[in-house]
């Protein structure tokens, strides 16, 4: 079960000091069973005390609307990009705004995608066909690409949305272990 807050049309009250409210971490991955939800609140440059108080108010609002424990992190753009913020890659690449419903990276004009390349050499023909059906579907049933909006961009390379990485990799690895993953922002 995923917990896609950006699809829930949550009614949140927040101030103009807040640039974005972003869900990130394992809870956004398709096919994951999250124990908690990570939220990053991105502020204009205001005092930390004010950031933390406003984040707590948002957490209290979210708690009333969802059952899973919430971990909330407060950042302004300076602290977000600070080397001490170990979560920044995850937030930047995977994060989805629960305000706009779009990727957080779009605030910076960047779109995140995952490219998965797989090697089918030395596999039996039936295994290759199985992978084809897994990705493209069979007899009118949707394959993973159509179901999750991915595309085949070249022989043995697919491009998908970041939140679907787990589910694609798990399925492909059932057929071949030769898988490479590349994360891109463009």
């Amino acid at each position: 079960m995923t917990c896609k807050l950006w699809q829930k049309k949550l009614k949140l009250n927040y101030s103009k000091d807040i640039l974005d409210i972003v869900q990130f971490g394992s809870s956004i991955l398709e096919g994951s069973i999250p124990n908690d939800i990570d939220i990053a609140v991105i502020f204009q440059k205001i005092p930390l005390k004010e950031q933390l108080n406003q984040s707590q108010q948002i957490k209290n609002q979210l708690k009333k609307q969802i059952d899973i424990p919430i971990h909330i992190n407060s950042f302004d753009l300076y602290s977000f990009f600070h080397e001490g913020n170990f979560a920044k890659e995850n937030i930047l690449f995977h994060g989805i705004s629960i305000i706009s419903g779009d990727y957080f990276s779009k605030n910076f004009g960047l779109t995140p995608r995952v490219q998965i390349s797989y090697d089918l050499k030395n596999l039996k023909k039936k295994e290759k066909v199985r992978l084809h059906y897994t990705l493209r579907g069979k007899k009118g049933n949707y394959g993973l690409l159509k179901k999750f909006g991915g595309s085949l961009i070249g022989p043995g390379i697919i491009e998908i949305h970041p939140e679907h990485e787990k589910i694609f990799v798990e399925e492909i690895k059932k057929i071949t272990s030769k898988v490479k993953i590349k994360k891109i922002l463009y």
Binding site: P47, L48, K49, L52, N53, S55, Q56, K59, N60, H71, I72, N73, G84, F86
Partner: protein, 113 residues
């Protein structure tokens, strides 16, 4: 007796926090201020209910149910205490937690120094 112990520990951790802060050891200051905050929260619960919590879970549960403003202070600051071993804590954060200790000191009528 519990009251005196909680007052003493709150004061001791706060003073150690002040010392760490002066030396610009902000990770230590955050941890010590937070421990002082917890002692004061327990003192507040004791003053209001005649009981003291025996774990963080119980402390969170009691404050969330009965003292939401106190809960918010605790819940807001707790992640920094948890993360203090792996994140660099700033002077500004240490000041925020110190402020919260002073809020609880006022609520419990405790002199920290």
């Amino acid at each position: 007796m519990k009251k005196e112990i909680l007052e003493k520990t709150a004061r001791e951790y706060f003073c150690e926090g002040e010392e760490a802060f002066q030396k610009q050891r902000f990770n230590s200051a955050v941890v010590l201020y937070f421990k002082s905050l917890v002692a004061l929260v327990d003192l507040y619960i004791l003053q209001k209910t005649n009981k003291t919590p025996s774990s963080h879970n119980e402390r969170f549960r009691i404050t969330e149910e009965k003292f939401p403003k106190v809960y918010d202070l605790l819940d807001k600051d707790f992640p920094f205490y948890q993360q203090s071993y792996m994140q660099i804590m700033t002077k500004e954060l240490a000041e925020v937690i110190k402020d919260d200790v002073q809020i609880m000191a006022k609520k419990t009528e405790t002199k920290l120094q």
